[in-house]
Symmetry: C2
Subunit: 192 residues, 2 copies
DNA sequence: ACAAAATATTGAACAAGTTCAATAACTGAA
DNA sequence: TTCAGTTATTGAACTTGTTCAATATTTTGT
């Protein structure tokens, strides 16, 4: 069941079989059924997760009760609240399964064990964090500069298979617009 | 001149004097006068920089010619285009001095040398990247959920001394609104 | 296959933010 | 000190996106 994880890691760095095995053994598999939560606001995020099946939404609820989706995580993607996890503080995020899902979880202690005993793991997470960092910068620029129409088109182009598994409400919460307006955008695009 | 850099590093991790000295010696100081560029779109970003004096804006110009500010960097802040720097690809960003400034620059080769010879440096950059990562996530949620008025108020509260050194045009480009609209927001706030 | 629930669409009135053009205030260099 | 260039303010018309409420469509559980 760590086949997918191994391939994901090797995509970022090179690691011996022994190192891979030692690292992967630190993960525990968990099933999360549709609509169930991996994390809720106010709780400590005690894991870093790798999705092997299904789909999650990572979102925030603001003071007006509106939900903003920070990101989606499907098979082969990592999922955590890095702020809560690294700084041991209550999470401001919810992580909910949108489909029946399975994740591999590593605890903070085991991750630190890996940092100390498998030097390359430090590099792995540095490289992964950097890649996410770049994607976040890109998204900020896009959110600042692009119209909702364009952000929607970008989204379905960038994540064509993800898009098919999401409702308009979820996509709108990611784009930062109301789902009614997304509906109007879709009509406008379809009529072309 | 590396006094500020040393204090900044020790703020993230602990390092012996020897390690600090070895690492800091890899930096070269550079002066950048107001309105001059540290990086332009299309160029390779060959440095990671630490600002010891002055102020920079890191921005993008979109296809309509509008500028979006990704972030500002003043004394004691780091500045680079991490995408261009780590992936050796042409930058999509401009980095311009808004005041007469001075930066300490480290090259990619020297940074890699540090990774290989001062193990803790890997941790330093992992920790720094994580902190930035968290800030970027926060900004995405804020941009999605908050009105321009609130984002402006947040900005001047979060960066009170930075705000005084910036023009409305710069702040508007950071908030993602027109400077005229920012002017109207300021009037509305002042009238209360 | 059916009922219930969740999701999507639509329109009308409204709010937030842009654009353009004109004027005012400020800054810096000679 | 002046004046030229930059930066800020304002108003009017416009565009983008929201809100609310009603209706249509799809999905889900039994």
């Amino acid at each position: 069941m760590t086949e997918l994880l191994i391939r994901n890691i090797l995509n970022h760095i090179t690691l011996s079989n022994k190192e891979l095995e030692n690292f992967c053994n630190l993960f525990n598999q968990k099933e999360v059924l549709k609509k169930h939560f991996l994390l809720r606001e106010g709780k400590l995020c005690k894991f870093e997760g790798f999705v092997i099946k299904g789909l999650f939404r990572v979102y925030h609820i603001d003071s007006n009760g509106f939900e903003q989706v920070l990101y989606f995580a499907k098979e082969n993607w990592w999922v955590t609240d890095i702020d809560s996890f690294t700084n041991d503080k209550p999470s401001q995020l919810y992580i909910q399964a949108l489909e029946d899902s399975e994740v591999l979880l590593i605890s903070k202690r085991d991750k630190e064990f890996a940092y100390n005993n498998i030097p390359k793991i430090e590099e792995l997470f540095r490289v992964m964090t950097q890649k996410t960092h770049i994607a976040l910068q890109r998204r900020i620029i896009d959110n600042l500069s692009k119209t909702a129409d364009q952000r929607y088109l970008d989204f379905i182009e960038k994540y064509p298979n993800l898009f098919q598994r999401l409702t308009n409400v979820q996509i709108a919460a990611y784009l930062g617009i109301s789902h009614e307006f997304l509906s109007k955008i879709r009509r406008k695009i379809a009529s072309k």
